[in-house]
């Protein structure tokens, strides 16, 4: 009757066997993922369930390990940029920027002001898409189907805007060392100007429909506590950290580019729970819009002409040395550390992914919660798997 029953084949794979060691009696070991609707791609979480309770959980990574760091050592300096559009498809501009920034540091290149402002505008727009994507997907995890549609409506508008200077909808790799691939035309600026008031009007709708919703509130409040100490131990950054009450934002803490010129707030929440992280992200959208508005104001008066011409060729040879550059991505601190040996290819590229650290806190945060809570916690960490697996 049962071909697999008690046979060797039903022993699970390596990781479940490893995980099985501490199994208690009367519990189930269950694989959530790699193909699971709530793990956003191919994250796999091995959980031990006691009824509805998660006794232990352990993420298993690597199902999307795309060798970015290895490619960093084989591609040319410029040829690595397309990879940066794919590490984190939620917020690729941040990665573009982190990498280009690191190489620029290494080479001592000054980026023209206009390019910097455009970078800011695009990165912040991209942050909006990232947050919208997360927002929709998170609410989908929590069981509501409609908000993600509304979020994608707005996201599509953003994509249309971003498509103009990047020719791409998702995996942007339009940053170049020293500037940008393409300039932004007036139409694009106009679209942005039109989008912001539109989105301002949508935000209250989101709030009414979702954020204030009784059911949602009850589901995400007081679960998945990741407090400051945990953040420190696991190295969590970004909204996870800000949700724990620390106003740490790379844009403020280590201002890069022209961020010191803008007037914006760093939203924080002290509850350290999923709701805190949720509210931080929602509030960040408003702040991003403020930055974009200011940057667009500054744009006409900005110095520096066309951007690409002066950029070095992809086969550039930066001087020997190490450099590190970090930016604030949608998920936290995005850092790129490069070592150059003076040749056409980098000696080592190390990508510091915020999601990696954030996810490592999951096991501790989810232990002892209900399985539904585990899903809610996972979603609140805002994971993009390629970034974690790299």
């Amino acid at each position: 009757m049962s071909a697999y029953q008690n046979s060797e084949q039903m022993k699970g794979d390596f990781y479940t066997q490893k995980f099985e060691a501490g199994k208690r009696d009367g519990t189930l070991i269950l694989n959530m993922g790699p193909q699971h609707p709530s793990t956003h791609g191919v994250l796999r979480i091995v959980v031990e369930l006691d009824g509805e309770y998660v006794v232990r959980a352990e993420p298993v990574l690597g199902y999307l390990h795309r060798m970015h760091e290895k490619m960093g050592e084989t591609q040319t300096w410029g040829g690595f940029i397309p990879n940066m559009g794919r590490v984190d498809y939620g917020h690729p501009m941040a990665w573009n920027w982190a990498y280009c920034g690191a190489v620029e540091k290494l080479m001592g290149i000054e980026v023209p002001e206009r390019a910097e402002l455009l970078r800011v505008i695009m990165t912040e727009l991209n942050r909006l898409t990232s947050h919208l994507l997360w927002w929709g997907a998170y609410i989908l995890d929590l069981g509501a189907f409609t908000p993600i549609m509304y979020a994608f409506d707005d996201r599509e508008m953003l994509l249309d805007i971003l498509q103009r200077p990047t020719a791409s909808r998702l995996t942007y790799s339009n940053f170049r060392v020293g500037g940008l691939q393409m300039d932004v035309d007036d139409k694009c600026i106009e679209m942005i100007k039109a989008f912001i008031p539109h989105f301002r009007k949508r935000l209250p709708m989101y709030k009414d429909l979702v954020t204030d919703n009784l059911i949602l509130r009850r589901r995400i409040e007081d679960i998945g506590i990741i407090d400051q100490d945990m953040c420190r131990r696991y190295g969590c950054t970004g909204p996870v950290l800000r949700g724990a009450g620390v106003a740490y934002d790379v844009r403020r803490a280590e201002p890069y580019s022209v961020y010191d010129r803008f007037d914006f707030e760093i939203p924080t929440q002290t509850s350290a729970c999923s709701a805190g992280r949720y509210l931080v992200r929602v509030a960040e959208m408003e702040q991003s819009m403020r930055i974009i508005e200011q940057a667009i104001e500054m744009l006409p008066s900005a110095q520096g002409g066309y951007i690409v011409d002066k950029a070095p060729k992809p086969a550039m040879k930066p001087p020997v040395g190490e450099a590190y550059f970090c930016v604030e991505g949608g998920r936290g601190k995005v850092g790129v550390y490069v070592v150059s040996d003076g040749s056409k290819t980098p000696y080592r590229v190390k990508l510091r992914a915020p999601g990696f650290s954030n996810l490592s806190a999951f096991a501790e945060a989810a232990t002892g919660t209900l399985i539904a809570d585990a899903v809610a916690i996972l979603g609140s960490l805002d994971l993009i798997i390629p970034e974690i697996d790299r």
């Binding site: 697999y4 589901r219 209900l370």
Partner: protein, 324 residues
């Protein structure tokens, strides 16, 4: 003898009608639900297959029929296939005592309400069997959830139904309908508003519909108890779910909204029943596409901490008022 044949014919016609009715309902509601959802989300939903996608549910059904039936290797094959059949089996019967019109009643059963309650309890069992026999952990979790849920919500449901029957003194749905004849003011919703609300909530719980769709909570349990079911196995569960929904909404309209009686005297007819049932169904759909899902402990606690005390209170109050 002619009375015998007549009765026999009536019943056979009723059975066939119930089959057609159920089939139509499943098709129409699959379509309406997807269309509703689409329009709420500002997209057309099924559109290209047939005029405005009207053939979509039929095509889906046929496709399910043309798909492989799969029995997992270490499932308990007999129970595995018993489950969807068991879930579908009583659904038709549930339509028997529901009065769709003054003459459009399968049979006026004087224990009609009890009949519906009794035979709908098969569903829980079918779900448990499905989840367990497929030997799939998701299925098991989903089944356990589904049953705890339906089982829990049965109590407030019973209590509010009792509140109505305390007033009517009968369990026959036809008689209950007829007590609400006349005008809109006679509907029991005015006499039992609290009961109506509780019934609505319990209805969502009983039929495993969002926001109480924990049994199939996609983001948590993949597909819940029917994770392993392919083809018609899944189709039957699906159809049964819609069947139970229609029955629940019909019962609700009979109990609280006057059944086939119109809001004014003299306009009674089956269309009112249809209208009310469909309005309730649309409401269920509307709710589904608006809210997130509740958590399991919350779901159970809504029942035990809110619905149950309220329903008991409501019952006592009814009993008291009746004696005043």
């Amino acid at each position: 003898m002619s009375a015998f044949v007549q009765q026999l014919l009536v019943l056979i016609v009723a059975a066939v009608a119930a089959m057609i009715w159920l089939g139509i309902n499943a098709l129409v509601w699959v379509y309406c639900e997807r269309k509703f959802a689409g329009h709420i989300q500002r997209r057309p939903g099924p559109f290209e297959v047939g005029p405005h996608g009207a053939l979509q549910p039929l095509i889906d059904g046929l496709k399910l029929m043309g798909k492989q039936l799969l029995t997992p290797d270490n499932a308990d094959a007999i129970l595995y296939w018993l489950a969807p059949i068991l879930s579908m089996l009583p659904v038709l019967l549930l339509f028997l005592p529901i009065p769709y019109g003054p003459v459009l009643t399968g049979m006026d059963v004087n224990l009609g309400l009890l009949l519906i309650l009794a035979f709908s309890s098969f569903n829980g069992l079918a779900v448990l069997l499905a989840g367990w026999s497929s030997n799939n952990k998701w299925g098991l979790l989903g089944a356990a959830r589904a049953v705890s849920q339906t089982v829990a919500y049965e109590i407030p449901l019973l209590l509010v139904v009792l509140a109505v029957t305390f007033m009517t003194g009968t369990l026959s749905l036809t008689e209950i309908t007829n007590m609400q004849a006349g005008h809109i003011g006679n509907w029991f919703i005015w006499k039992q508003p609290l009961a109506f609300l509780i019934f609505l909530v319990a209805m969502f719980g009983e039929t495993n519909r969002a926001p109480f769709d924990l049994a199939e909570a996609e983001s948590e349990l993949t597909a819940g108890f029917h994770t392993e079911y392919s083809s018609m196995g899944f189709g039957l569960f699906f159809m049964a779910e819609y069947g139970y929904m229609v029955v629940m909404c019909s019962v609700c309209s009979v109990l609280f909204l006057g059944g086939y009686h119109g809001p004014f005297p003299g306009v009674d007819g089956w269309w009112w029943m249809l209208l009310k049932t469909f309005a309730l169904l649309s409401f269920m759909v509307w709710v589904r596409w608006t809210y997130p899902r509740v958590r399991f402990d919350q779901l159970l606690n809504i029942n035990w901490k809110w619905l149950l005390p309220l329903a008991t209170f409501n019952l006592l109050a009814t009993a008291l008022i009746l004696k005043l």
